[in-house]
Symmetry: C2
Subunit: 335 residues, 2 copies
């Protein structure tokens, strides 16, 4: 690889002049600049990014940290972050936190290979995030409440969402409601479940242990959990899936068992992923403001990078999206 030295030599100028010319500084005459650019072109010269970052001690890059690059993506959220990064002239890279302390994500944070990060990865420990964040290095956590210098939490109000979803089912006359949960260590899942419990208690309904099954927030988990539920003899009249992915898996299991939705059983999801409107029946669900939260995360990151004062905690509201996967049983008295 050609370095700026080679360019300078070929152009017959000093190193620094070449540097100035290449970064568009107006300290060099047009003629010299042209000479330098021509030399660079001839040598197919390109800056060495690291040397630049090292000297500038800034990378102009932020990281989006995900639990698993091949996992289900919140594409709207990413779009939100991406647009803000782009419009601020920053680069965005995504990396995975697979691998624990040796993961790419942890290395990028520790070694300060980026200027800040947005984290949506349950497998990142609070410790790592707290150790890395700081005045000059903002981290936005989107899947937990965490505090520390340079740390901001954005969460969606999963508790209200869980509550609303459950109330909605109850209002439609459902009394036997199952909850298919996400991973037990998931903060989002615990919020949703708390909302579910609050609504159940408030309505004087008893939660059945056999109807609380984990599907790990993944499609196939929802499928298996639903199969398991179906093998227990008695079916609930409604199922609250902790997220849409599991509901899609559940739908397949029900279909295979010849159980109609919503005629025989009602289901409700959570997230409002784009797919929900494309499946049969369109899924009633709780919408999370994905794009907005991603965009907010991006904006906050840059405000912090610019040294502005911002709040450390944000809670976004959810909204019930009524489709066709829930049947109104309130007029029917019994089965």
């Amino acid at each position: 690889m050609a370095t700026i030295k080679d360019v300078a030599k070929l152009a017959g100028v000093a190193l620094s002049t070449a540097s100035y010319a290449l970064s568009g500084n107006n300290k060099v005459s047009a003629k010299t600049r042209e000479k330098v650019l021509e030399a660079a072109r001839q040598l197919n010269y390109h800056k060495n990014g690291f040397a630049m970052d090292l000297k500038r001690s800034r990378t102009n890059t932020i990281a989006l940290i995900l639990a698993d690059l091949s996992g289900p993506f919140y594409s709207e959220l990413i779009r939100g972050v991406q647009e803000v990064a782009l419009s601020n002239g920053y680069d965005l890279i995504a990396c995975s936190s697979i691998g624990g302390g040796d993961s790419t994500a942890v290395r990028f944070l520790r070694e300060k290979r980026v200027d800040g990060a947005v984290v949506l990865a349950y497998n990142m420990s609070d410790e790592v995030m707290q150790a890395s964040a700081g005045a000059g290095f903002p981290i936005i956590a989107m899947d937990r409440i965490i505090s520390g210098e340079g740390l901001i939490s954005i969460i969606v109000d999963g508790e209200s969402g869980g509550y609303e979803a459950t109330r909605y089912l109850m209002d439609k006359g459902h009394r036997k409601i199952a909850y298919i949960s996400g991973p037990s260590n998931s903060f989002a899942n615990s919020l949703r479940y708390q909302g579910f419990q609050r609504a159940m208690q408030e309505g004087g309904l008893e939660e059945q242990a056999k109807w609380r099954i984990s599907g790990g927030f993944v499609r196939d988990g929802g499928y298996k959990a639903t199969k398991m539920m179906m093998m227990q003899g008695e079916l609930p009249t409604a199922v609250f899936y902790g997220n849409d992915e599991m509901a899609i898996g559940g739908l397949k299991a029900l279909e295979e068992g010849g159980i109609r939705v919503p005629e025989d059983i009602s289901i409700i999801g959570f997230d409002d992923i784009q797919l929900t409107e494309f499946i049969q029946p369109p899924l009633t669900t709780i919408r999370q403001p994905m794009y907005e939260s991603g965009s907010l995360a991006g904006h906050l990151l840059f405000q912090m990078l610019n040294g502005e004062e911002v709040d450390m905690f944000y809670k976004l509201n959810v909204k019930l999206i009524e489709c066709q996967s829930v049947k109104d049983r309130s007029k029917v008295q019994s089965e």
Copy 2:
């Protein structure tokens, strides 16, 4: 941020000793190493990634370049690449080629911020890839055929896939077949379409211009294209969707129009994304070996980084996955 200098000073040793101790070199005594590590702990010292990369002139990172981070992901492909990278002790980052010449992807290639790349991004120009690739910098292209030093192409045999899909429909008695296409500049789309055309010609069937509509390879595009097709009065008996995403969109449009699948119309997709088995009816499609191609890409990348000789071109085979979205009309003579 503390630097290795500070660590050395606090530990009372020379810079180089600290460096050796921190990189686990056995040139230092256990006692000294401990002293240095303790100092590093006290100062919360972490290596500066750039300085290290600069000195080592190696990053231990490879990039996965995608057209759009928020776009539909080939998660299996990513998993393939990711696993290989991880097992070789490399980091993997994903970045987007949105933004043309100023995109993150182009900068990462040009400025050599990674050691190599896997590219699956139609909006990357051949020129950029050819200019960046070289003996020490391998690039694996997964969406085109391209040649040059350090460049390898992996493609799936879309032509055969398109041919097989179409033959399959014809074998099932279909004579009126529509093709919902991807973007016209997509290499994958053109292969599939060529296969479609070959089968049609071979079967003596005429392709109807009104039944070749573009859906841009996206779900919503498939939905709109299908709506458009439905408005033209005459329906084909089968639709070949250029990819599964569009087929899912199309399914919704058909559903809305009260057209049953496969009773009234048969559909076939392409890709075999995970979702296909979860929709109703499960989609007959052409499977691309996604995981395998990702894994192959990863392996080739590391072989090149290790200076081994490899072929410059790979073509992977596809396979028809028979599900329930195609009806056999071969016994029915007319409609």
